[in-house]
Amino acid sequence: MIPELGYGATVAALALAVWGAVAAAGAARTGRTDLLRSGERAAVGVWVLITACIALMLYAFLTFDFSVRYVAFNTNRGTPFYYRITALWGALEGSIVLWSWLLSIYALIVVGQYRRRQPELYPWVLSVMLGVLAFFLLVMTVPAPPFERLSPIPPDGRGLNPLLEDSGMITHPVALYLGFTGFTVPFAFAVAALIVRRTGEEWITITRRWTIIAWYFLSLGLLIGGWWSYHVLGWGGYWAWDPVENAAFMPWLTATAFLHSVMIQERRHMLKLWNLGLIFLTFGLTLFGTFLTRSGIIGSVHSFTQGSIGVFFLAFLALVLLGSFSLLASRVDRLRAEGVLDSVVSRESMFLLNNLFLVAAAFTVFFGTVFPLLSEAVRGVKVSVGAPFFNLVNIPIFLALLFLMGVGPLIAWRRASAENLKRNFLKPVLAGVVVAAIMRGLGVGNALVLTAMALVVFVAGTISLDLFRAVRTRRRNGDGWAAATLGLLLRQNRRYGGFIVHLGILVIALGVAGSQAWSVQTEVTLQKGQTVDLGGYHVRFDGLEATEESNHAKVTGAFTLSNGRRGETVLLPGRKFYPQEQTPIAAVDYRLGFLEDVYLVLGDFSRDGSQATVKLQINRMVSWLWIGGLVLTLGAALAILPEARRPA
């Protein structure tokens, strides 16, 4: 029953989406409101149908309906209740359903918000959004139908991929997809603005807001992904430059570039062509990301599966890229820059450099990701491009971006005088140099870490200086420090929200630099009662224990950890043996700290529990990544708030 109902709903949704896109486009060209209303109703209908699909699928999961192939392949009777819900997006077909559903929600929001406010752009925006929805629904109907019937009905299912049985599974894909699908909205507005030749200022304001929202969710998704990698995959790292990680990182880089260059367009009416290009590039990169994940052309830990689905995505990617850039090329004349500079040393040039470095980083990541394909195509030889390459090439770019983060917000528009430079930057530069010297004196030898530290202090210095001066000025109105600060933050929430986001990035940068430079690890085989020492910690192997969980068997090692200061802790890393998996899955255990985490991975062990191999890591500064992420979240939330109205 459910397979048939679900499939019917999918096909109906596809038909509605296609009709809606056509109707909205027709309304845009002819001005007929009845067509437009029909398109809107179609958008609502699509959302209702996809929600019905989700409800049906969830019902199938919760009732162990193994007549649905997707349910049978992704859960079994032992799968815990909450993972049966998240299994909805645990594999290829379900992930497309989630994507489509989130996209349909965004479409509804667009309908509600803009049907009256943007009568010129709105019909095309609706058409584009429904068009994109139609594509994903097409994928749901033809190459990756989630509602295939399985016959004969098996007594039990295969089970969820054990790596996905984690709390990260609840949030990471949803946040990531909210980000990816969110970029469809600015894309639709950009296309609409170009088609109707209204490339003035309204579309940029709308686009900016939506890009921040999508950017925020994408940032969240990336950070949660890092956290998930860190505490589940058992290798003690948070970013592997895996092709699919890269594919999510590239649109983040170009979206960040856009968020900055849009300020030049708002203030100085320049860079219109570039900004449109950035939006098209960002949306194209989100499609490229889904293409990589699902086509199987580049192997990745995230890859779902191969099959004809890759062809669909490549075709759509080609349509979007060629179509949007051709549209841009045909409207170039309307996008001439109007502004002027007086000096190369100015905020405009800092923003240009910011964009250059971000896009260069995106290009580097892209080139490294596809180079194995290129090598095979040209030489017939397979090569790997991994962490050593990406780290080497990207580190200078990120350091340069850190520097710009400090300079950009305070340098003057159009022309920065010597006085302006001295006033804003002398003290922070000195502070940075002093801190670097102190750290050098304390024994930190790594040049990269010192540079990163100096830059972080420099940027923090510029932000603090600016904030301090602005609050001091506000206080002239008689407010106390706290009131003045709060008032300032709320009044100029975009600026200070951005500053807080920068602060968040700084904290993350410190976390990355520290963890790369100062983490230590070792791997030993211990007899029962034997100990190993590392980084001031003392670890003793106490024995093994075997347990049976609902859908797997687990062997846990008990390790007592002490460092003389905080007393003893027992850590229980284990290995989980799932019947459907060929090799055991590591279940790491760790003790998190502000400055350092102790991380244990259980390796091989003897049957009688007398000895075990364990990998011990002291990961330093990793918690700063998550703290920085939190700060970034707060900053973005502040920046998204509607512009505060001026007091009467």
């Binding site: 290798w235 003690g236 470095f357 090598s375 030889v381 302006n420 006033r423 000025t473 990998k615």
Partner: protein
């Protein structure tokens, strides 16, 4: 004294007997392993991967280093068995140089483009620009304005 000397001699003989045995620094093992790709994972290095295969490969690295091979020789051994693919970053030679050079070349090209654009923007002097305003006064006005509201 004699017994102590005999003990030292015995130890020396033992060490000599373990022909070519070199004490292995775990950091070196980790460094070599970090340059090799774990064959059963997708993007992790042999140093990072928690898989059994990676653990065995680390053991082989340790063995070879202990037998006196240099890190480069150990790497070469793995390349001989698995091909260039086993290295996590392609060797900087031949066609592979492209991947190392192109990003920096692109960045350089971009810098040139930015310079060109900036120069073009600063060449257009708007007509009727305010003339004759004392630069110091202009700077003071700018400073006062930025102190009240810094957009």
């Amino acid at each position: 004294m004699i017994r102590g000397l005999a003990g030292v001699l015995a130890t020396l003989l033992l060490l000599a007997g373990a022909a070519g045995a070199v004490p292995v620094d775990e950091t070196t093992v980790h460094d070599v392993a970090a340059q090799l790709r774990c064959v059963v994972c997708q993007s992790l290095s042999v140093a990072d991967s928690p898989s059994e295969t990676a653990s065995q490969m680390r053991g082989i690295i340790r063995e070879r280093l202990a037998a006196g091979e240099s890190p480069a020789e150990v790497r070469a051994y793995f390349v001989e068995k698995y091909g260039e693919w086993i290295l996590l970053a392609p060797p900087k030679s031949g066609f592979n140089l492209l991947v190392w050079v192109v990003p920096f070349a692109g960045l350089g090209l971009g810098l040139v483009l930015v310079a060109v654009v900036l120069r073009r923007w600063s060449r257009k002097i708007p007509p009727g620009a305010p003339a004759g305003v004392d630069p110091a006064l202009r700077e003071r006005i700018r400073r006062e304005m930025s102190e009240t509201e810094n957009p």
